[in-house]
Symmetry: C2
Subunit: 246 residues, 2 copies
């Protein structure tokens, strides 16, 4: 009569615990769930004790605990088990936070540049837009910042702080608007000398008024200048002109 204690088939067991037949067999293989007795034709026959164990296993599995760790936990003493539960709960709550963050980020996916550059740089770019800089130039500037932030994050951070200050200066914005207007001029346009002159003046004034300029790492600076120059021959020419009469 004790055979009546093991009357569940594998699919009944799996269905009850929200698992699949395959999963149950995997748990047998990995030693998480003891193999039950077999009936006369070799079918596995389960009892309530297996159902209980399987429910525990599934609860931990859906909580994201790896099978190897589940095996340890089920074999461990209650105090170790309780400690593990606390830790698992913590990791679940962390996962929930990550999901929250992921939701906020995918929501920004079809939107602006905040996903691609730091908040500071995004703010800077928005100031440029407000000042009337063309979207094309803003995007060039954005790409430059992406390169900078990738190649030298802390230098970029120091630099953007400087730029956020500069952008409050109307003279800087005016100069930037000149550059924006000049982007498509031919390199031999005579107006470029004027822009170069204004550039020199602004830098000179700035060097006297604020003693700490951008932490001029020459390598990075040159790369940035080269990238900008590559985008616009006119800009490259302005840089050349501004250097010529120091």
């Amino acid at each position: 009569m004790t055979g009546a204690r093991h009357l569940l088939t594998i699919s009944q067991l799996a269905g009850y615990a929200g698992a699949t037949i395959k999963a149950v067999r995997v748990y047998h293989e990995r030693g998480l769930l003891p193999e039950p007795p077999r009936d006369s034709s070799g079918y596995r026959r389960y009892g309530a004790e297996h159902a209980i164990q399987l429910m525990k296993i599934r609860t931990l599995v859906v909580a994201g605990v790896p099978l190897a760790r589940i095996k340890e936990l089920l074999a461990a003493g209650p105090e170790r088990f309780a400690a593990a539960i606390v830790e698992i709960d913590r990791s679940l709550s962390k996962r929930a936070d990550e999901i929250d963050l992921a939701r906020r980020r995918i929501a920004q996916l079809h939107g602006g540049d905040r996903l691609f550059v730091s908040a500071e740089v995004a703010g800077y770019l928005d100031r440029l837009r407000e000042a009337g800089i063309s979207e094309r130039t803003v995007l060039l500037e954005r790409d430059l910042w992406i390169l900078l932030q990738s190649a030298a994050p802390e230098q970029a951070a120091a630099w953007i702080a400087d730029k956020l200050e500069a952008v409050t200066d109307p003279a800087f914005l005016a100069l930037y608007l000149d550059y924006d207007a000049a982007v498509d001029w031919p390199p031999d346009d005579p107006r470029l000398t004027t822009v170069a002159e204004r550039t020199r003046r602004w830098y000179a004034e700035r060097a006297t008024s604020a003693e700490d300029g951008p932490p001029a790492d020459p390598v990075i600076f040159r790369l940035a200048a080269a990238a900008a120059g590559a985008s616009s021959p006119a800009w490259a020419r302005i840089a050349e002109l501004a250097k010529q009469v120091p």
Copy 2:
């Protein structure tokens, strides 16, 4: 000078987007991220456009979107993309709910039987405990319900409704306490005939007062009786005695 547009190494790119070098190479293989130009020694050199694409990829990856789907999405038009974003957000919110549920379940892992049986059965078991039934017998009853719920969920549901009603009857509880006391008696204990007599009377009374008894599926009923009988020879004897004098 256009080489300056591609100045990031693979590790700089990966670091910026929170990926690993290996992951970036996988995205190349799968066609998610275009292969960048190589420098003179065969190293990959990336530009801002790759950084932007990689950020998009990573955002979707951490949101749990499979790489194959990400590839489709990046190639699709904006309206299809937007629709997908909505769907991804919904699935993320579902995941968040699942995590919530998982947390509540692991919290019950070291606690009572509510994890292993339905809420109704758990309530029934608690009523038995309140009535003074020994924990050992309650656990036997619980295991029986686990078998029942696994093997025939809807029959078990109908049956538990019946039991929840029975448990409000003091006569039923008194009878159950008799069984609890008898669990370890030898099968030839003379007191068993008294219990059998009370059992017969209770069933007779119930059959007249409530016309709809439990939906007596004979197979399931017999299995349950056999399981109970296997746990206690005395209970098996009571069942035999109660049948003998119909």
